[in-house]
């Protein structure tokens, strides 16, 4: 299978890339890891007129601490996250997700930011970003714009980037003492999309939950933030009853469909079980710290 013909540019500075994207408008697409874009182009589901390959721009491959946040640059590969000490110290949720993204060979190429921008409801990272309240840094020739992840994800394969903008980083809050995070993914085999994926994040201070984040993968037209379940948790003391109640609320927030990976009812039951288990895992991480 071959993609339809396209023009190709490989700028070596961000300024050059954004100038090109501004000029191209809707015709231009950013190529980073290419592990979703190229298959879509081969299947002719995407036919961009011009690819702007950002792989030759130095500095975009960094994982950095910026004002209490961790910033993950546009060329940070999934494999870099798996290997990163910084991530394993600063985000238990991201660290527990990375080894489950795609397969080891795809992880060597595919990028976190690319997956976030792709907005595939079966992608793992956007559930994590929703649970953590991440911010997306979008850059154009006019400058930088910071978009909360909830506003960034619009719908099925649709983000809120304007023509001429590209994602240059995602920012997540640094997990300090009292936080735990866990990603649970049910997949038929490695490399398959999730049947169900659940990202959970908790902060517990003085025995009370002060932050709760729950993101759901593969159970709706886009990754879902289980807001009602999150709200039930905040201000309460962790308990099995509370977690069971929040898990039921998250299952109700999911919108799964019957498909080859299983019937909707089954997937909803998995959401419920995984939210409960994820929250329990967060609490045990927090108590191990203490």
């Amino acid at each position: 299978m071959y993609p339809a013909p396209f023009e190709y540019s490989a700028p070596t500075t961000l300024e050059e890339a954004t100038a090109l994207l501004a000029e191209l408008g809707d015709e231009g697409r950013v190529l980073a890891g290419g592990q979703s874009l190229l298959p879509m182009m081969k299947m002719r589901l995407a036919t961009p007129a011009h690819l702007v390959d950002i792989n030759r721009i130095p500095g975009l491959d960094r994982i950095e601490q910026v004002n209490g946040h961790i910033e993950i640059g546009a060329l940070v590969r999934h494999a870099d996250v798996v290997a990163s000490q910084e991530i394993s110290d600063a985000s238990p949720l991201m660290a527990s997700t990375a080894p489950w993204v795609a397969d080891p060979l795809v992880r060597n190429r595919g990028t976190v930011c690319g997956s976030v921008a792709h907005c595939d409801p079966e992608g793992d990272w956007n559930s994590v970003m929703l649970a953590l309240g991440a911010q997306v840094v979008a850059t154009s020739h006019n400058g930088e714009r910071v978009i909360p992840i909830e506003d960034f994800i619009v719908d099925y394969f649709t983000n809120s980037l304007q023509p001429g903008e590209m994602v240059t980083a995602v920012r997540i809050p640094r997990a300090d003492a009292g936080t735990g995070g866990k990603y649970l993914k049910l997949e038929r085999k490695i490399g398959d999309y999730a049947t169900v994926g659940v990202a959970t994040h908790l902060r517990v201070e003085g025995g009370t939950i002060t932050e709760a984040g729950i993101g759901l993968t593969s159970v709706g037209p886009h990754n879902i933030k289980a807001k009602e379940a999150e709200a039930m948790l905040v201000g309460q003391a962790p308990s099995p009853e509370l977690f069971a109640e929040a898990a039921r609320a998250a299952a109700l927030a999911s919108e799964p469909e019957d498909d080859v990976r299983g019937p909707a009812e089954y997937k909803r039951a998995v959401v419920e079980a995984y939210v409960r288990r994820g929250l329990e895992a967060c609490v045990s991480q927090i108590s191990e710290e203490g």
């Binding site: 071959y2 013909p5 396209f6 592990q35 080891p104 060597n108």
Partner: protein, 178 residues
């Protein structure tokens, strides 16, 4: 567009269309057909090559993206006429049946062993989880990678297999299995 690469230690330079896939560049333009095309959808790993030290699926990379990079394919495993330890281990442990997945399996295995010369069975299974063997010969693939790391293929390391010897080795294997 001009694409310059170093492949198996040799510099090559070819003009291609931007939409040329790396796997076709390697097979058609460079004439190295040891890299296979299986699913063509980033699932099977038959097209695995090592790009700047990392194994990747060459059906899902454009040749123009490989410009300036260092590539290794299965043809590059053999050095100075001598089989790579992983090739010897695959032969000794019957790590291949139809052979279609073998180039990818060996490249992933060899890259793993460079980083971790003594991986556990579990580590090997994780590492090859992006490569499918539809003969389902995983037991012997895992065994071969493990043995190549442990150096148990030791006696045979450095053995130069000429064509006649390869045939003899094959006949021995057939005999052993009948």
């Amino acid at each position: 567009m001009r694409v310059d690469v170093t492949i198996n230690g040799e510099s090559r330079s070819v003009d291609v269309e931007p939409r040329t896939l790396l796997v076709d560049f390697i097979r058609t333009h460079l004439g190295l057909t040891g890299t296979h095309i299986g699913c063509d959808t980033t699932s099977c790993g038959a097209c695995t090559v090592v790009m700047d030290g990392n194994p990747v699926k060459s059906c899902t990379i454009l040749a123009v993206q490989a410009h300036g990079s260092e590539l290794k394919t299965v043809e590059g495993l053999r050095q100075n006429g001598q089989l790579h330890p992983i090739q010897i281990a695959f032969k000794e442990h019957h790590g291949l049946q139809c052979g279609f997945c073998t180039p990818g399996m060996m490249l992933v295995g060899a890259t793993l062993l460079e980083r971790n010369p003594d991986p556990t069975e579990e580590e090997i299974r994780w590492e090859i989880s992006g490569n499918l063997c539809r003969c389902t010969g995983y037991m012997n693939i895992v065994k071969a990678i493990k043995e190549a790391g442990a150096g148990s293929a030791g006696d045979a390391v450095g053995e130069d297999l000429g064509a006649a010897e390869s045939v003899a080795a094959l006949e021995d294997m057939e005999e052993a299995h009948t």
